[in-house]
């Protein structure tokens, strides 16, 4: 990172990823934490979180944009189901890590990730079934 860019990014005010407290979800709406975890220079991840919130505010205030044809809850749950599929794949990759390259604690975490990946996939499927029922039944 250039020294100029480093000067413009303030020191990290908190660890990354941030504590997974529920009230925080609204300030983490744009970038995946599984993406931001790669940004290790102090303050870099927080800078993108800040920019993300700016994106989100701009988007929410764009009244003239075309509206989705989906009902809000249906569209949002479609997005959530896709994010769960993403997490299923991400956790499965952690669960399939080569145990020979991990210490004992990381190996235990890896073993736990695999069944949780499957469970996350089942939750995504549950939402997808409901969404598909809407399409099949043509309910309004």
């Amino acid at each position: 990172m250039s020294s100029l860019a480093q000067q413009r990014i303030s020191p990290a005010p908190r660890p990354s990823p941030p504590p997974a407290a529920l009230p925080e979800w609204e300030s983490l709406c744009v970038f995946r934490e599984t993406f931001l975890v790669w940004l290790t220079p102090p303050g870099a991840a927080d800078a993108l979180r800040y920019v993300g919130n700016l994106f989100f505010d701009l988007m929410l205030n764009a009244d003239d944009w075309p509206a989705s044809e989906e009902s809000p809850v249906r569209g949002e749950l479609q997005g959530a189901a896709r994010d769960l599929r993403f997490l299923q794949g991400y956790l499965a990759t952690i669960g399939q890590a080569d145990a020979s390259g991990l210490d004992a604690v990381d190996a235990r975490l890896s073993r736990l990730a695999e069944p949780i990946s499957r469970a996350v996939g089942e939750l995504a499927e549950r939402i997808e079934r409901e969404l598909e029922a809407w399409r099949m039944e043509g309910v309004s």
């Binding site: 709406c29 934490e33 599984t34 809850v73 479609q78 990381d106 939750l123 309910v139």
Partner: protein, 148 residues
């Protein structure tokens, strides 16, 4: 480390579709999660215009490519990348939990029978994903005390 970071050769984003068409979130095959690394789908769903949605996805690909090109020069996480990847997954699970709890909780105002049913499923899934995140957090917290 996931495969995409290892090979540092991410796929080219698809061309932007024409403007004016509405899009739904794409099907994400879990094994292809690396194609969707940057933005949450619960964010991109607010870009129903196909061209705008495609451009945001293209920007996300570009940003991730730039990070992949550079991250090797950045400092390592003190506790290693592995537990931090899991902590990040927990944070993303908590995000889904929080979002669905909000959309499908007491403030939900849908009136059709189908939407009410859908919101109940969303609320149930929010609880379940929270329990799964909690299981990972317990393991990660117990890890914090290990000798380095």
């Amino acid at each position: 480390m996931h495969e995409l970071a290892q090979k540092s050769n991410p796929p080219t984003p698809p061309p932007s579709p024409p403007a004016g068409l509405a899009v739904s979130p794409p099907i994400i095959k879990p094994e292809r999660f690396e194609d969707f690394m940057t933005f949450r789908e619960t964010f991109l769903v607010y870009f129903p215009d196909a061209k705008a949605n495609g451009r945001m996805r293209g920007f996300g690909h570009l940003l991730f490519e730039m990070v992949l090109e550079t991250w090797g020069q950045w400092p390592d996480h003190p506790e290693g990348i592995f537990p931090n990847e899991l902590r990040a997954a927990v944070a993303d699970m908590r995000h889904v939990q929080g979002a669905m709890s909000s959309w499908c909780g007491p403030a939900f105002s849908g009136s059709s029978e189908y939407e009410i049913r859908l919101s109940r499923v969303g609320a149930d899934v929010a609880l379940a994903i929270g329990e799964l995140a909690g299981r990972l957090e317990v393991e990660l917290d117990s890890w914090q005390g290990r000798p380095s």
